[in-house]
Assembly symmetry: C2
């Protein structure tokens, strides 16, 4: 995930991982631009991964594709959430972009 | 956020925080049941917070309400994502529940 962060052109600040017994891992990479997280269930062939970045210099999709490749993902289902969008009333909102269908471990949007 | 995790009845495994200068913090608490994360922009009065838990014994909404209270949030906008839902074809999916409107820093669903 540190490599994935670097793929996204993010600056790595902190790394915290835990390995479960008999298998599975949970971990987070805190980056200057927010965080990347992963939770794996090898027994189910499933992983839940977040790529949360800020700024125009980062590309979370590159991290996503990198992680999918390293995980050997056969398929992935992605949802994009744009967060911290300033509203006209001074409050903040977020927008969910559900990406239709699955990709064969390629970017779906 | 460690206290928030405990409010959710989660088991804390790892803690990784970074304080930005002149202000703002990014941090994650890895729990046995996934993770909690926070990113704050005090200059904008905004924070983006995730509460990702697994299992029936945890209640992420308790952590959410606790964090909102500690942050002194005047309003919050929440979206719930149910992840790792097994499909009949053996693949996994997730479902986004957008909670309409803002709450006055109370649970909106």
């Amino acid at each position: 995930m540190v490599s994935a962060a670097k793929e996204a052109n993010a600056e790595v600040l902190k790394v915290a991982f835990h390995r479960f017994k008999p298998y599975g891992v949970s971990g987070v990479v805190v980056i200057a631009e927010s965080h990347l997280s992963i939770h794996t269930w090898p027994e189910s062939g499933y992983a839940a991964v977040d790529f949360y970045t800020c700024g125009d210099h980062t590309d979370p999709w590159r991290a996503c594709e990198f992680a999918a490749e390293k995980l050997g993902a056969q398929t992935m289902l992605t949802t994009e959430v744009k967060r911290g969008i300033a509203s006209s009333n001074g409050q903040y909102t977020h927008v969910v972009h559900e990406h239709a269908g699955r990709s064969e471990a390629k970017r779906s949007a």
